[in-house]
Assembly symmetry: C2
Homo-oligomer: 506 residues x 2
């Protein structure tokens, strides 16, 4: 007989994974849906994570010579139309600005007025508007390379929005570079992919697979799209960042030309690369458990919560004094290039208080009661361990060890995620096993199944599209440095062109 | 006979101030107009200033308990209409989103499709969408105060755009707070005004006057608007920040209610406060001269440029070695909570190179030639002094003193701006002098005139509006703590209600 264990989040992952995700977001107080369909409100506990992402990526970008800038929110329709594949890729999700004021309508209410001569599109990405600027900034090879990044909001109209993962408005960074030589642009595309992989693994503790997209999954207008793919706990893949080699496509569209050292006029070679608030969705689905959010310390909104235990009013002064002096000492310590962020929660609401912080995913909880103070010690719980598994530390010893404990948590989360991915990554060589792998046992009930399948593919888009239609499975990537295969395509049986990673995906 | 002195910027301030401003922006490479009318591209040299503004304000906000969050770009029209004065104030400059996709039109080109049931407005400010969130977050007095800030892009359609000063899209921060008690909300309104004044004076080196707006100049929907006003070098005023006490107006509009400690249901008291990329326009117009931009060190994109002087190819290795080792040592130093930002410019373009950095406003220029190296010294120019007024420093002495020099520059810029404002601030008690003060001598030719006039006002909006119509002069503010006046209104001669500051304004 299984003992019934109550969890802080209901339903659990096993019971209903999509609903579990919504409940984790809600219980952690990170974000909520807004009254504007598809748009979210990012609350302070969630936004702090985005601020950490911005801070760390800014440092990493800067070290490679990239500088930040800002370009207009609006893109004239004619700009978007300059690159045929590009506009086709985004046409179905473009928010269109048609008027520039409001005036009293026939019924007394306000109606749009001042129609624009040319409609403006709210940027779904900025290749065309930044390309226009590049065309003015660049005239000689001496002006190259140009290495620019922008932090901005993006709009892509979503018919099936899902908080953090797919929202009509989201926040992102988009890097845009222009180079004199093709090789240099390709090198930059790979450099940024590696930077993303390093960032996501080391800071978000999410193991990722690096690869190249198939033609069908490419960024509209790109020559090559490189990507990093992570595995969520429902074994689906989440694309966590992309880096595009754009060849001369956008240079031709935006007329980005330069005079070479040999005094010939040439088109520049461009790249673009981005990550977004979607990363926060990936972070949640990689680490969280049935008790709520679990935050890797390096990216956490806060590191430690102090929970003074006050059973009698008399105890309050000395318990609070101890708590505040401990907070002060902890705040002087550095972890991952910032001071430790310490919360004090002295609400008198009993056990609910500890659970609130578990659901918020804070890495370390510290209980401080009169008896702990008598012993000059504190009682420490870690979010990566069972809740009851708390440990007493002498005060000084805790202060000395706190950053080591944070490192241990960071490492244990990465290891756990890596083990999970390994467990659900398989090599499949026959069609029957492939279909079984991606088919739930009970079609009525949502259920966790599948994973990453490494299988051979013939290279045909038709076959790729059939697999997607039949099984909702897509090619996540062609792993970089994959060797040529002699086998047969897992689906159509034709001679294989290469081995690829198949998965269901967000 | 006056000797003709050539300036790096043409026209000079005296010749054509508005055109001088455009040329300073262009020559400094801070920003440019985009192909989207009224929208600007903020280039790296300009964006770095905005990043410094964000970094410093974030620290100052955080110290008062404010947390960052993010709210949707889109506001449903019905939300904006909830507060009558508010929507009226913004209706003429609202960008309206009407459709959510594009499809092939009859002529083959793309046309807007997927009309929205309710038009969405791109936020001209976020009181109504944030108020909606607050109404859900707040139920008891225990949930108060809520202290939120957002960094975001804002759209207010401009018919006469001017880079940084008035653009259809701009970047800003908007703070929004809700309180249980009226006094506490008023206190927060003043606290944020003081914080802005301190920030603008200490970091941007712009002296400001604090005051309250007249009813006509108030934020639409506010009970009171507090402001800081700075004087530009054409003696016009620029509003550099505002802090609004909103009373219960927006709480009523958005239904922000809470149960008080006495178990009564009450409307919350709210505030909002903001500063924008307009500050960069103010910064330019406060400090720059006829040779271009002048940046206060605390907010400067970079602090020091090193200019290796290489006359013979043979010299290059040792000059560059000296330059790079100096850069390395300088970069280890801290100034105003960040590491010194050092540029090295080794282009071989002669004198144009030094002028480029003068036009970019970098606080310190350091020339390094073979003879300086022989003497283990460097040749230092300061942007706040005459260009020829350079001084030799022993290398170690320069490194030791560099942050003191930056402090001196910061201080001298503030003192200079303060002197300028004092020189052009007058008390005027008679109408004739008042009219003369605000009337250019030669109406054909743009010319710098006027300043801040402290004069009595009757308190009537009609009189205020007449002054604006006749002289293009507005009431910039009622100084805080102004005493009641017994005099007569400067314009209509009726008994005065108070003394106010009149000026022409941006």
């Amino acid at each position: 007989m299984t003992k019934h264990v109550k969890t802080a989040i209901s339903p659990t992952r096993a019971e209903d994974y999509p609903e579990w995700y919504q409940q984790v977001v809600r219980a952690s107080d990170m974000a909520e849906n807004s009254p504007v369909r598809g748009c979210m409100v990012i609350k302070p506990w969630g936004y702090a994570i985005w601020e950490n992402i911005m801070r760390i990526l800014n440092e990493l970008f800067k070290a490679t010579g990239v500088k930040n800038a800002y370009f207009p929110l609006f893109i004239p329709l004619s700009f978007l139309e300059k690159e045929a594949e590009h506009v086709e890729g985004f046409a179905k999700e473009c928010a269109v600005v048609s008027h520039h004021r409001l005036e009293k309508g026939p019924n007394g209410g306000l109606v749009p007025a001042g129609p624009l001569k040319e409609p403006l599109i709210i940027r779904p990405t900025s290749e065309t508007i930044i390309g226009d600027a590049f065309s003015k900034w660049i005239s000689s090879y001496r002006d190259l390379p140009i290495l620019i990044n922008q932090w901005a909001n993006i709009v892509r109209w979503e018919m099936r929005p899902r908080i953090f993962l797919r929202t009509s408005e989201f926040l992102w960074q988009e890097g845009h570079t222009a180079h004199a030589a093709k090789e240099e642009a390709i090198e930059r595309t790979h450099m940024m992919l590696d930077l993303y992989a390093q960032f996501v693994e080391q800071y978000l503790a999410m193991p990722v697979m690096r690869g190249k997209k198939s033609a069908a999954e490419r960024f509209p207008g790109a020559v090559d799209t490189l990507c990093i793919e992570a595995m969520m706990q429902d074994r689906k893949a989440l694309q966590a960042g992309t880096s595009h080699f754009l060849g001369q496509n956008f240079a031709r569209a935006s007329d980005i030309k330069f005079q070479s050292a040999e005094e010939k006029e040439e088109y520049a070679w461009t790249t673009s690369w981005g990550t977004s608030t979607r990363l926060i969705g990936g972070l949640i689905m990689t680490h969280s458990d049935d008790d709520g959010l679990v935050l890797p310390p390096k990216i956490a909104s806060s590191h430690v919560v102090l929970l003074p235990i006050i059973r009698k009013a008399d105890d309050r002064p000395r318990v609070m004094e101890f708590t505040e002096s401990l907070a002060k000492e902890l705040k002087d310590k550095f972890y991952c290039d910032r001071r430790l962020e310490i919360e004090i929660d002295d609400r008198e609401i009993g056990g609910a208080r500890g659970w609130d912080w578990i659901k918020k995913g804070i890495p370390i909880r510290v209980e401080i009661g009169p008896r702990d103070i008598d012993d000059n010690s504190v009682f420490v719980g870690r979010r990566d361990m069972a809740h009851k598994d708390k440990k007493s530390f002498k005060r000084d010893s805790f202060i000395r060890q706190v950053t080591d404990i944070l490192d241990e948590i960071q490492e244990s989360l990465f290891e756990r995620a890596l083990m999970f991915r390994k467990l659900h990554s398989v090599t499949i060589e026959d069609k029957k096993t492939f279909i079984e792998f991606f088919t739930p046992e009970n079609k009525e009930k949502p259920e966790i199944h599948g994973g990453f399948a490494s299988s051979c593919w013939c290279g045909s888009e038709k076959c790729e599209s059939k697999i997607k239609q039949d099984l909702s499975v897509s090619i996540r990537c062609v792993p970089l440095f994959s060797i040529k295969e002699k086998g047969r395509c897992i689906y159509c049986g034709q001679p294989a062109r290469q081995r690829v990673i198949f998965a269901k995906a967000y």
